[in-house]
């Protein structure tokens, strides 16, 4: 599943940085870790912002 970075992320699978606003695949992370990153304000689901932009 793809997520949009809200802060500078380091994708441990690709070994590359993801700038805020960019999308990245975090399918290597489990649900609990994803949830922690979302609640911590580091990422958001990539589709969520698109819906807001449409409105």
């Amino acid at each position: 599943m793809k997520f949009r970075a809200k802060v500078l992320l380091f994708n441990s699978k690709t070994g590359k940085y993801v700038q805020p606003g960019e999308e990245t695949d975090l399918s290597h992370l489990d649900e609990q870790t994803i949830d922690m990153l979302v609640k911590g304000g580091a990422i958001e689901p990539a589709t969520e912002k698109k819906e807001k932009e449409v409105k």
Binding site: F3, A5, V7, L8, L9, F10, N11, S12, G15, Y17, V18, T24, L26, L29, T33, M36, L37, G40, A42, I43
Partner: protein, 144 residues
């Protein structure tokens, strides 16, 4: 809640792509430098200075490396970078580098100080080598 440095993950690289985990052969990460220049002037008739902000200075990352004689460990990697004047990168994650933890990474830097192994006959302490890397800046990210 207080956080501790005991689980710090330290990695070094010579190209910024391939990293070697040197946590088990590193005993300390220390920081110095990075001050931001600030200038000031107090004009006539003003009771306080006008302050301007300038650029940051270079950052110094000091590592205490546990001496070993492996061919690809921290000691050899940093020694070669020092002697050849080639780039070295350092990154560390104070809380272990797992997902959600902060990671700090240097831009390409140079080893400016490298203490070859030394010691005393009556010392029980492991041999430590102090290495200083100078780099333009350090970048913080969140591991995902």
């Amino acid at each position: 809640m207080a956080l501790f440095f005991t689980k710090c993950k330290v990695e070094v690289s010579t190209n910024g792509t391939t990293w070697t985990d040197v946590s088990s052969s590193t005993a300390a990460v220390e920081m110095d430098g990075g001050e931001r220049d600030v200038g000031s002037v107090t004009p006539f008739g003003q009771d306080y200075p006008s302050v301007g902000v300038g650029p940051r200075k270079e950052v110094k990352v000091k590592l205490k490396v546990i001496y070993d004689e492996g061919t690809s460990g921290a000691f050899e990697t940093l020694r070669a970078a020092y002697e050849n004047g080639t780039n070295v990168y350092v990154r560390w994650s104070p809380l272990g580098g797992t997902s959600g933890k902060f990671q700090y990474a240097t831009d390409p830097g140079y080893v400016v100080s490298f203490s070859y192994p030394s010691g005393e006959s009556e010392s029980a302490n492991p041999i430590l080598v102090e290495v200083e890397v100078v780099t333009p800046k350090v970048t913080k990210s969140v591991v995902a």
